[in-house]
């Protein structure tokens, strides 16, 4: 409950600071917040769009939450999501039937996990700081996926995107005219699974123990290397799924933009969600839904208040800064 109140407080501070910034830059703060927080509720299409926006953020948020639980700062969801999306594109290239969908998950998750394993192994066996290594992997993935998307897998009909998912392999909108697909429920189930895993399973127990006190955990027979690898592996899976869904469940294009527009920044949003959710998988789920709402609102803000979309990202940064002040008691015991 205290965590929830802290999050509300951080939102209040961000809204106040944001109002000043918006006013100084010549926008109407009232119109900005009206379009961000009220307009999304005025139409069912907007609500479903907010849920669709939240879908990948739930999954990348889980990646960061899994790291946080084990006392790790895994910033690699960004690059792992790119790799997951690349996997879906490769699957569309290999199979022209419904088979492309399961194949997407296999290839996408494998690539994302492979991407997560590099920093995990470097951390476990060479002691390399995971913040630096995951960011480097993000940038390597960025250029790699841009290259692949604009060469081997580019769409000859539409140069700004890759080849599309075969129609029979797509996750199409559940209600026609909206953008809500089964992908949303995949993400919700993933959050419940991760919650169960962390709270009820042996792996979760080991991660939590190592996160609270790595020395005591090691003495109790839980090697740090195993903890790092499990945490990054599971995180790679959820981010990989996020990437796959951004292609397979992304109407109307069902492809990856060659400038990575439909996957760019999702890893950072996930970090925000996990921090707002206090590293708890269910908290992360709620926070991601809220962020999805904010970003859907930001699209209306762009249209109605003429305010740049990134205003919402600035608000999120301020929220986390306020949280940093209070988060101390929660996980910082390492």
């Amino acid at each position: 409950m205290r965590g929830f109140l802290d999050s509300l407080l951080s939102l209040a501070v961000a809204i106040a600071v944001g109002a000043v910034v918006a006013y100084i830059s010549g926008y109407n703060p009232l119109l900005v917040y009206y379009s961000m927080f009220v307009v999304p509720f005025t139409d069912v299409v907007y609500v479903t769009s907010a849920l669709a926006t939240a879908t990948p953020i739930i999954l990348t948020g889980l990646t960061f939450a899994l790291g946080l639980k084990a006392g790790l700062f895994n910033i690699g969801a960004e690059g792992q999501t790119y790799m997951g999306a690349l996997g879906a594109v490769i699957a569309s290239y290999l199979a022209a039937s419904a088979l492309a969908l399961p194949l997407s998950f296999v290839i996408g998750i494998s690539l994302a996990v492979a991407w997560a394993m590099v920093p995990a192994l470097l951390k476990a066996y060479r002691g390399v700081n995971e913040v630096v290594s995951t960011i480097m992997m993000n940038w390597i993935a960025y250029w790699l996926v841009i290259m692949e998307a604009s060469t081997t897998f580019s769409n000859p009909m539409q140069p700004s995107e890759t080849i599309k998912m075969p129609p029979s392999a797509r996750l199409t909108p559940l209600v026609p005219g909206t953008s809500l697909t089964a992908g949303f429920f995949v993400a919700v189930v993933a959050a419940l699974l991760v919650y169960w895993l962390l709270e009820r399973s042996v792996i979760g127990y080991e991660l939590t123990a190592a996160g609270l006190n790595p020395v005591a955990a090691r003495i109790a027979g839980i090697p740090q290397s195993r903890v790092v690898i499990y945490s990054f592996l599971l995180g790679g899976v959820t981010s990989g799924v996020a990437g796959v869904l951004q292609v397979a469940a992304m109407p109307p294009s069902y492809s990856l933009a060659t400038n990575l527009a439909n996957v760019y920044g999702l890893g950072l949003d996930g970090i925000t969600a996990a921090m707002l959710g206090r590293g708890n998988p269910l908290g992360t789920l709620l926070a991601a839904l809220f962020l999805g709402l904010m970003e859907e609102g930001a699209r209306h803000m762009q249209a109605l208040a003429m305010t740049p979309f990134e205003f919402v990202k600035m608000l999120q940064g301020i929220m986390i800064l306020v949280i940093a002040v209070r988060m101390l008691e929660l996980w910082r015991r390492r």
């Binding site: 830059s25 060479r126 700081n129 480097m136 250029w143 290259m147 950072l268 940064g317």
Partner: protein
């Protein structure tokens, strides 16, 4: 040519790394260098453009970095908040603010050429950066102030018991450290690249963090590290110009090099003992 490009490419990493060494030697981690660099790049062009002077732009970027560093320092030192979370927040805030600001101020999406009247001489800033690194080494290893800073990061209780104000030392080390990262950003936008984009720092803030470890918290070794990273940065453009490989491949080089270098040197690196641990009076 490759040599001068290497030196020029090393400057932002060097400034940020030297600043971080100062902060970490006093006991405070700031992983928000990337965000500070972005903000410095943006503020430099904004103020330089309006004031009609690149130097004023540089000074403004430095001052804003100092203020944000005071904020991070206050959170880390007095409120005993989470330093890593605050650093991540700075990165998120910087990315949002700069992308927003570029559109709000110039009404263009994510890209603004620095006007000619706001440009600053690349070589002058390069000399400044290397001088700062040398001065930082001297201060940290040869002066009483340096002893006080290092003591605050190694054993704050002992430092406090001999009359060193650990709180103030940490606050100002963090602030000055952050101001150098922001200065590195102003170098990017006002001198080296003469443009400001929403991702102009391109991971350099994190490469600087890697350089800190590589340098074993020594500003002189940080010069060597920054030059290594600068070399791969410069090399990537050369390979691209000569058509050796696609530019996407060459652009990966600095990041791959950073990974290899940190993987290779870990083990002999020894961080300050009280790094990241908030100090409280008995």
């Amino acid at each position: 040519m490759l040599l001068t490009q290497t030196i020029h490419a090393a400057v932002p990493i060097l400034l940020a790394a030297v600043g971080e060494i100062l902060a970490e030697r006093s006991g405070v981690v700031n992983i928000g260098l990337e965000g500070l660099m972005l903000i410095g790049a943006f503020v430099g062009v904004l103020v330089g453009d309006v004031a009609g002077s690149g130097l004023i732009g540089v000074a403004a970027a430095w001052a804003v970095g100092l203020l944000l560093g005071l904020l991070h320092g206050a959170i880390a030192v007095y409120i005993r908040g989470d330093q890593l979370v605050a650093g991540v927040a700075m990165n998120l805030f910087g990315a949002g603010l700069v992308a927003y600001g570029i559109q709000a101020v110039w009404h263009v999406a994510g890209y603004r050429q620095t006007p000619s009247w706001a440009l600053v001489d690349v070589n002058a800033m390069t000399v400044l950066a290397f001088a700062v690194a040398g001065a930082m080494w001297y201060i940290l290893s040869r002066t009483r102030l340096g002893v006080a800073i290092r003591a605050s990061g190694e054993d704050p209780e002992a430092a406090y018991s001999v009359g060193i104000d650990v709180f103030k030392i940490r606050l100002f080390s963090t602030a000055v450290g952050a101001s150098l990262a922001s200065l590195g950003g102003a170098y990017l936008s006002l001198a080296y690249l003469s443009v400001v984009t929403k991702d102009i720092s391109a991971g350099r803030g994190f490469i600087a963090l890697a350089d800190v470890v590589f340098a074993n918290w020594n500003p002189l070794l940080a010069i060597a590290g920054a030059l290594i990273f600068g070399f791969f940065d410069a090399l990537s453009y050369w390979l691209q110009i000569f058509g050796v490989a696609r530019y996407e491949v060459t652009r990966m080089l600095p990041y791959i090099a950073t990974l290899l270098v940190v993987a290779g040197v870990i083990g002999r690196a020894k961080p300050p003992r009280a790094l990241g641990k908030p100090f409280r009076k008995e």
